[in-house]
């Protein structure tokens, strides 16, 4: 039953191609990629992702033309058992198309960028074969993400949910045999495992929510669930929404499950931009928005969600201040911004949350990709340097091309190695600036509008606590971004490599410019008074237009400006010198140590969860299962008892007492008898036959005499 005929007019029948296009792309690359050049591989992958984008556009257009009513596109049956009826059905409504557009649009840009990035990355790391693998994974990710956003039921959403988790695992551990600095290590693959397993903890919550949902509502399909939800006890819905929150926390990196996201920066930069900033991590926000009707029914749960988001936003922002790795700063910033979104959707400000999701996708992707450009620029400078030195050292060592790796470990992501890049990488600098201003929420960049809407809604909905938490977080956001700008682009180069950094090629900067443009004008999506996005999403979820509150806007802009000013005082006025510790270290003392060390959360988890789990497993396996159950109980007790019984009990004790005398007699009698019998046992077959005859005669005789 491919393409049911029941779908309404328009391009809705194309919905499955959202998923198929990237799948076909990855299949082409798997099967024929071995013979393709890098350019062809990248083009195929980008086209596949682009095809998805075109389908998304067509779907959005059809939807708008059709008045915005949600359309279900059935594709195939999946599981039908008893009352369980699950289908592969695509859902096209304004919410899902918004996500589709973001995912495939940003995704395609990042695909194009990645052609340039990976071209260099695989060369720095000496494994050209992995270029193809990268694009296969990237396409797989687009496919999974499309399943996630286009599913018509919670379970199909879950399929995409785990699918993107898998891609995240594969791409974080992309350079699985090394650490972020290229040294042989388990670090990257550990980060991948951490991401997958943490996500699975979240998935566990999602699953349980699904189970409750099914037994309470009898369905996983969105409309049916929402329909049924109005009639059941709120307690059940609280349980569902809170278990779902675990899932959200896992995927959207909220407290307490955010720990995987900073480690996820081990993946190549396009991955960080695409998966761990723009798209996958926002799936949790999408899930809450999707379940708006459930959350609206239970204000208690809404409060918990909002607080989780707000606390995460602030908490992660403080950690970002203490980081030195350019991508780690952005990672914590992402967690913080996700906190904004989760808080927004938790408060019921779904449009604000989605709005911020979209703008954040633009500017955070821009920031990450620019950061990647910076890192590659430094790598280029470093290589340039190494080659120069190499040539100086004479021609005799040509065989050891990578000798510099052993001489000195250079971290191209460490901001302490940067400085003054404004001059060497001007394009990247300007792009980065746009991203920073957007993230900091400076008028009129995209971030300003979306963040402002969240804050305004927080006040309007009466979540004052959330409002203050978020405002402080916004202050920190502007501060750490300012710190980053000053440290990376201003001042003097603190490392030779930074001094020799080179600008990135066009294939990388052009997508960046597109993203930068979107970061500037993205706010137009939902300008106060026009409410384009609100009107659009209204078709799917019950929303009310956010109002522009001048006082909120002014306060937040002032806070952001103040923070940037503060950062200039600390980092910009007197630029950092090579080897100099962070100027905040002294005045803040242990507070900064905490920020620097991520408040020791990882260590805490290790002590409370991972360590004990490992020890208990080891104990169960070695002591309980093997030494006690396998060796002691089975081999010693059971087998031993059997042996003891048969050998000792029967042979010795029973023998010596009672049967002893008889056995002795029997023994001697047998001996003498066997001596006689030996002559009968002469080995001639016929003697045996004779004894058979004797037996027959005796038996018949017995029968006669009986």
């Amino acid at each position: 039953m491919l393409f049911s005929e029941a779908t309404p007019s328009g391009f809705f029948f194309l919905a499955p191609w959202l998923v198929f296009a990237p799948v076909i792309g990855l299949l082409i690359n798997i099967i024929f990629g071995g013979r393709f050049s890098e350019k062809v591989i990248g083009t195929v992958a980008s086209l596949a992702s682009g095809a998805s984008f075109i389908v998304s556009v067509l779907l959005a257009w059809s939807l708008a033309a059709g008045g915005g009513h949600a359309v279900s596109v059935p594709f195939a049956e999946w599981m039908h058992i008893g009352s369980l009826e699950l289908d592969w059905t695509f859902r096209v409504d304004s919410l899902s198309t918004t996500m589709m557009l973001v995912v495939s649009g940003v995704g395609t840009l990042i695909h194009i960028y990645a052609i340039g990035y990976m071209h260099e990355d695989v060369r720095f790391k000496n494994d050209l074969g992995r270029f193809r693998r990268f694009f296969v994974f990237l396409n797989l990710f687009i496919a999974a993400m499309m399943i996630l956003v286009s599913g018509d039921s919670y379970l199909m959403l879950f399929v995409g949910w785990e699918g993107v988790g898998l891609c995240s695992f594969l791409l974080i551990g992309f350079w699985y045999e090394m650490d972020t600095l290229g040294r042989p290590s388990w670090a990257n693959s550990n980060a991948g495992n951490k991401a997958f397993i943490t996500n699975r903890v979240g998935d566990f919550g999602f699953l349980i929510a699904g189970f409750i949902m099914f037994w309470a509502f009898g369905s996983f399909q969105f409309d049916e669930v929402f329909e049924a939800a109005r009639t059941v006890a709120p307690g059940i819905i609280v349980a569902i929404t809170l278990f779902m929150l675990i899932g959200v926390a896992g995927k959207s990196a909220q407290i307490p499950l955010y720990v995987w996201l900073p480690d996820a920066m081990a993946g190549p930069t396009p991955v960080s931009a695409l998966i761990h900033a723009a798209t996958m991590v926002t799936a949790g926000v999408y899930l809450v928005t999707r379940s708006a009707e459930l959350y609206m029914l239970v204000p208690q749960a809404q409060y918990i969600v909002a607080m989780t988001g707000a606390v995460t936003a602030l908490f992660a922002a403080t950690i970002a201040v203490g980081q030195y790795d350019i991508k780690k700063v952005l990672a914590y910033s992402t967690i913080s911004q996700l906190g904004f979104m989760v808080a927004a959707v938790g408060m019921g400000a779904f449009v604000a949350g989605m709005f911020h999701l979209v703008t954040h996708a633009f500017f955070k992707a821009l920031l990450f990709l620019s950061a990647g450009s910076v890192i590659l620029g430094l790598e280029r400078g470093h290589h340039h340097l190494a080659h120069a030195q190499h040539d100086d050292h004479g021609k005799g060592r040509k065989g050891k091309k990578d000798s510099h790796h052993e001489d000195e470990v250079f971290d191209p992501g460490d901001m302490r190695n940067m400085g003054g890049l404004r001059k060497t990488m001007p394009v990247t600098f300007w792009l980065y600036m746009i991203g920073t201003l957007a993230l900091a929420g400076i008028f009129p960049f995209a971030g300003f509008w979306s963040k402002d809407e969240i804050l305004a809604d927080a006040l309007k909905e009466g979540f004052t606590g959330v409002y203050w938490l978020l405002s402080i977080a916004a202050f920190f956001t502007a501060f750490y971004m300012g710190r980053q700008i000053w440290m990376v682009f201003f001042g003097e180069a603190r490392h030779e490599a930074a001094a020799h950094a080179e600008e990135s090629p066009r294939v990388m900067t052009v997508p960046l410019m597109v993203l930068a443009f979107l970061s500037v004008v993205g706010g137009a999506l939902n300008l106060p008074g026009m409410h384009t996005l609100t009107l659009w999403l209204e078709h799917t979820i019950e929303v009310h237009a956010g109002e522009f509150v001048m006082s909120v806007a002014v306060i937040s802009t002032l806070l952001a400006l103040a923070a940037i000013l503060l950062s200039w005082f600390i980092y910009g006025r007197d630029p950092l010198k090579a080897g100099q510790p962070d100027p905040l270290k002294k005045p803040l003392g242990f507070l900064f140590t905490g920020m620097e060390n991520k408040w020791f959360v990882d260590e805490g988890y290790f002590a409370i969860v991972i360590g004990p789990f490992k020890r208990i497993s080891q104990f169960l396996a070695d002591v309980i299962d093997w030494r006690f159950w396998h060796d002691f109980v089975h081999d010693t007790v059971i087998a031993g008892a059997y042996n003891w019984f048969s050998n000792i009990a029967l042979n010795r004790y029973a023998d010596q007492q009672g049967i002893d005398a008889f056995a002795n007699w029997l023994g001697s009698a047998t001996k003498s008898l066997s001596a006689t019998m030996r002559r009968v046992q002469n080995g001639f077959v016929r003697s045996y036959a004779l004894s058979v005859l004797l037996g027959v005669v005796l038996i018949v005789g017995y029968l006669i005499l009986k």
């Binding site: 785990e162 898998l166 045999e177 189970f211 396998h630």
Partner: protein, 503 residues
């Protein structure tokens, strides 16, 4: 001739034709022996497809029945009675499917006494088919015990260093349970005047208190075979020592005989007792899921890790069966197939790498994905299927089982389902741990070690691909479109569930 041409008789005993042909092939002509065995198992697989074509899923009764009086003395009424229904069709197909694959996996792995190996293997196939098709308790018991003998020799002759210990343990363990079952079978057969399962189910006149003891006797035999915690102690030994093909069949089919026994005999024959036992079985299953997952995480030997993961996976199956609703039971049956495919494939893959490296210690591996990209990718897919990633087969089974268990009336609480869902997290922990230690990370010492003795670790060759790709196809098929599989069993499952007196 009518007797021999019955589809099920043919399906069960066709491997014997292979045995007969093998007898006439000189034992030093190894390739001819291998091809003959492979051919025989392939024809058997073909027969199973023919049987599938004749099978009507919407009919809940036994189909393609072959039924003859066999031993009728002194009030005993033992029949040669084969039959097929929705509960067994998938397992029959799985058996017929895995047999040629296992034989193919021995191509280069078994070089000694090839003839004997193939003979035992085909005999084992006869036994397994018989177990899944027999509808007479006595006949079932004979096949059940018959499978022990070839497996005993497969482990005991071609196994690892501690093979004799493992083989004897395997044999004694299963025997110990079987004796209780034999007593129960005899009691039932004499009490009910027949050994035929459908007749006994129709009579349904066993008093409740006796049902309980009979249930326990049957459960003892099956639980050891499954194996349910805490009766799993024979499993790691048997798996670690068995040759690859033996492990595949052991995990893929022999363990399913236990769970199948529960579905086929315990649930319908002793419905009241089953309902009464459900919470306890669910408890043991949950402990097994968590315990198996934790213990397998702590293993250093990869084969042992996979072996313990079976304890965890089969815990899911048991949980689903005793959820006693359609989702649970259907999921459990599908999960039997899934486990056969995924764990079978894992053992195959481990065997393939073991053939080259001769070690199963995970710590010497590492970074293999770089050297063997195809192998690594396939291993990844199989691992993901084993840990239940949506889109692959494991998820469909695990999800439906957990869903069923969560709303099960017979278990009565959803605590077990929630705890078991934690097992899904733990599955990710140990499977990813295994995959990481072997395929990710920096290059392990074994790579250089192997290079010293030849040309290093190679990727999969064509034969190995042919062995593993059919399994992969099913892994994706069941994961993405399980409808045909559910359709095959759904009416039978609904019928079975309808028979149970669930409170």
């Amino acid at each position: 001739m009518e007797f021999l041409l019955q589809p099920l008789t043919l399906l069960t005993f066709f491997p014997l034709v292979g045995v007969l042909v093998l007898l006439f092939i000189p034992s030093d002509n190894k390739n001819a022996l291998r091809w003959t065995a492979l051919g025989a198992s392939l024809v058997t697989f073909g027969i199973s497809l023919w049987v599938l074509a004749q099978f009507n899923a919407s009919n809940v009764d036994l189909q393609l029945v072959a039924r003859y009086d066999w031993i009728t003395v002194a009030g005993w009424n033992i029949q040669y009675f084969l039959g097929l229904d929705g509960l067994s069709i998938l397992l029959v197909l799985l058996t017929a499917f895995l047999a040629p694959i296992s034989i193919l996996s021995t191509w280069t792995a078994v070089e000694e006494r090839v003839k004997d190996f193939m003979l035992f293997f085909l005999l084992l196939e006869v036994g397994m088919m018989g177990v899944f098709l027999a509808q007479d308790l006595f006949l079932f018991y004979i096949f059940w015990e018959f499978t022990l003998v070839p497996m005993y020799f497969l482990i005991g002759i071609w196994g690892g260093p501690r093979r004799i210990y493992a083989a004897v343990k395997f044999f004694l363990y299963t025997m110990a349970g079987s004796i209780l079952m034999l007593l129960a079978i005899l009691w039932l057969g004499i009490y009910g005047q027949t050994f035929s399962v459908p007749d006994l189910i129709a009579q349904a006149n066993v008093p409740a208190n006796i049902q309980w003891w009979l249930f326990l006797a049957f459960a003892a035999a099956f639980a050891i075979k499954v194996p349910m915690w805490p009766l799993h102690s024979w499993l790691p030994d048997a798996h670690v020592e068995a040759p690859t093909a033996g492990s595949v069949i052991l995990a893929g089919v022999l363990l399913k005989m236990g769970t199948y026994g529960f579905v086929r005999f315990n649930l319908p024959l002793f419905p009241e007792a089953s309902v009464r036992a459900a919470p306890w079985i669910a408890l043991l299953a949950t402990i097994g899921i968590l315990y198996g997952a934790m213990v397998s995480y702590a293993q250093k030997d990869v084969k042992k890790l996979v072996a313990y993961s079976s304890v965890s996976h089969l815990g899911f199956v048991m949980l689903g069966l005793f959820a006693m609703n359609e989702q649970g039971v259907a999921g459990a049956i599908l999960q039997m197939i899934n486990h056969g495919l995924s764990t079978g494939a894992l053992f195959l893959l481990v065997g393939m790498i073991y053939e080259q490296t001769h070690t199963r210690e995970m710590k010497v591996y590492g970074g293999l994905w770089k050297i063997t990209p195809v192998f690594g990718s396939i291993m990844l897919i199989v691992s993901l299927s084993s840990m239940g990633l949506p889109g692959l087969n494991g998820f469909v089974g695990e999800f439906t089982i957990l869903l069923g268990a969560f709303g099960s009336k017979s278990i009565g609480t959803n605590v077990y389902a929630i705890l078991s869902a934690l097992g899904v997290i733990m599955a990710a922990v140990y499977i990813l741990y295994m995959f990481q230690k072997m395929f990710l990370g920096p290059q392990g010492e074994i790579v250089d070690e192997v290079k010293k003795h030849g040309h290093g670790i190679r990727d999969l060759n064509l034969r190995e691909l042919v062995t593993i790709v059919p399994i992969l196809i099913f892994i994706f098929w069941i994961g993405l479109y399980p409808k045909p599989f559910f359709d095959l069993m759904a009416p039978a499952v609904a019928h079975l569930v309808g028979m149970l007196p669930i409170p």
